[in-house]
């Protein structure tokens, strides 16, 4: 597998021409996104450059403890970001942090145990980043749906509680729908991968000069890994978060209006 590629800052700067198109379109159509596009470009440059240095240090040090620290930081920021998106779910931070942490640990542990990747920073860091990022997106979507559904179905949930059902039984249909919402995007994109779009890892490897067969195989490994981690993160985040809508006496904390 050949991965040697040199990219100069000049080439990165040249790609900004495409950003100019985006700004021009926004300006022309009065989409009012010029400022946001500018911020996105600056932030992406700073953040990726910074993480590039961090990853370089971790690769040079070649110690697993640095990998664990980096993933822990990602999990923390991921949970904070997803909590903002799932604003209707009370105290969503800890369910999200636990979900992302378990998904990252279990997924990386499994791929190492199964011999898919060596337990080295150069494998664990990028895979860990993808796992946390995708798990965060899926969990945020799932919890967002959970919050909306509990709010919209409060009457039905309370009618079920009124029969002597537990909070778990009353929330079960909503938990199922929310988990599905969180996973469906990745499942659909996995179905259409290679037909409608080329996934990022494969594109990156091809650009770096890798053999297409290697690029495809690595991409498949990552897609399957992500499916598992997203399912795990969705299940854990919803499984913990739905309880926050109920008291320990199986009462809705915010009952429907009479």
């Amino acid at each position: 597998m050949s991965t040697g590629i040199d990219v100069s800052l000049g080439q990165v700067a040249a790609a900004l021409a495409l950003v100019a198109i985006a700004i021009a379109v926004s300006f022309w159509q009065r989409a009012d996104l010029e400022g946001d596009i500018g911020i996105a470009v600056v932030r992406s440059f700073i953040q990726l450059t910074a993480i590039g240095f961090v990853i370089q240090v971790i690769f040079d040090e070649d110690r697993i403890v640095f990998v664990i620290a980096l993933i822990a930081v990602m999990v923390g920021f991921g949970a904070l970001t997803a909590r903002h998106r799932a604003s209707k779910v009370p105290d969503a931070f800890w369910p999200l942090a636990v979900a992302l942490g378990v998904a990252a640990t279990a997924t990386l542990g499994l791929v190492v145990a199964l011999g898919v990747f060596e337990p080295e920073p150069r494998f664990l860091v990028p895979v860990g980043g993808m796992v946390v990022g995708n798990s965060m997106t899926a969990s945020a979507v799932a919890l967002n749906r959970l919050g909306d559904d509990v709010h919209d179905s409060a009457r039905r949930i309370e009618a079920t509680l009124a029969l002597g059902a537990t909070a778990t039984q009353a929330a079960a249909p909503i938990v199922r729908r929310s988990l599905r919402s969180g996973m469906i995007t990745l499942v659909d994109s996995t179905k259409t991968t290679g037909l409608i779009f080329f996934p990022g890892t494969m594109v990156g490897m091809l650009l770096a000069g890798a053999d297409p067969e290697d690029a495809v195989r690595l991409q498949l490994i990552l897609l399957y890994t992500l499916l598992g981690s997203v399912a795990l993160a969705g299940l854990i985040s919803i499984g913990l978060a739905y309880r926050n809508f109920f008291t320990s006496d199986h009462q809705l904390r915010e009952p429907p209006e009479p």
Partner: protein, 219 residues
């Protein structure tokens, strides 16, 4: 006494909906009557602990409701809410779900009959019923628990006069066929007169009158 509420105060959304309310509800058929927004539905929710009061106590047959296992209490004291809220699936699925919660395999046809729905409704999709039919399916579902007490929150408020009369007849018939106490919440004093032996009148979150219906609401 079936229920006793002693100096009960309850807030919702920062507003007091029940204020220092004291009332008794005996075995048999009782009504909690009052205008819309007076707090009568909130009172009903205290009786099977869908909510707990901020202050005061609620007792059921002499014991504080908080001393009971909450799930057992709700299966014994079943609340049928104002607006129908059935689960996805058929009417029979809904009735069986409730029966299973109480550890029973319910006789769906008999329960539908008690609620004034024919056996043909068992296979009907719950989302394709009229409001009146949903209300009866909710009643059948509640009866699957074989409760000692039925709490009915405005069971006819969404119905026209004919359907209201039919539901009232069903409830009268039900009490003759099944040993069950009923606490019915209504804004309609004429309905309270027709359907109950005891009435508690509520205004602005306070019990303003209570006693035998024939004394408080003479025909």
């Amino acid at each position: 006494m079936l229920f006793e509420l002693d100096s009960v105060t309850l807030s919702r959304g920062g507003r007091e909906v029940l204020r220092d309310l004291t009332a008794s509800l005996p075995e048999g058929a009782s009504c909690v009557a009052g205008p819309s927004g007076c707090g009568k539905s909130s009172l009903l929710r205290l009786l099977n602990r869908l909510a707990d009061p901020d202050r005061g106590t609620v007792t059921y047959r002499g014991a504080d409701v908080r001393e009971r296992d909450v799930l057992e209490l709700r299966r014994e004291v079943c609340l049928v809410p104002q607006l129908p809220a059935l689960l996805d699936g058929t009417v029979a699925d809904n009735v069986r779900f409730a029966g299973q919660l109480a550890g029973r395999d319910p006789d769906v046809e008999r329960l539908l009959d008690l609620a004034g729905l024919g056996a043909s409704y068992a296979a009907r999709d719950s989302s394709r019923l009229s409001v009146g039919e949903q209300q009866r399916a909710m009643l059948a579902r509640g009866l699957a628990l074989e409760p000692d007490v039925l709490l009915l929150d405005e069971p006819t408020s969404a119905l026209d006069d004919d359907a209201r009369g039919a539901v009232e007849a069903t409830l009268v018939d039900l009490r003759e066929r099944v040993e069950v106490s009923i606490v019915l919440v209504t804004h309609d004093l004429a309905q309270a007169r027709r359907m109950s032996d005891w009435v508690v009148r509520i205004e602005s979150g306070r019990a303003v009158q209570q006693g035998p219906t024939h004394d408080l609401l003479p025909a």
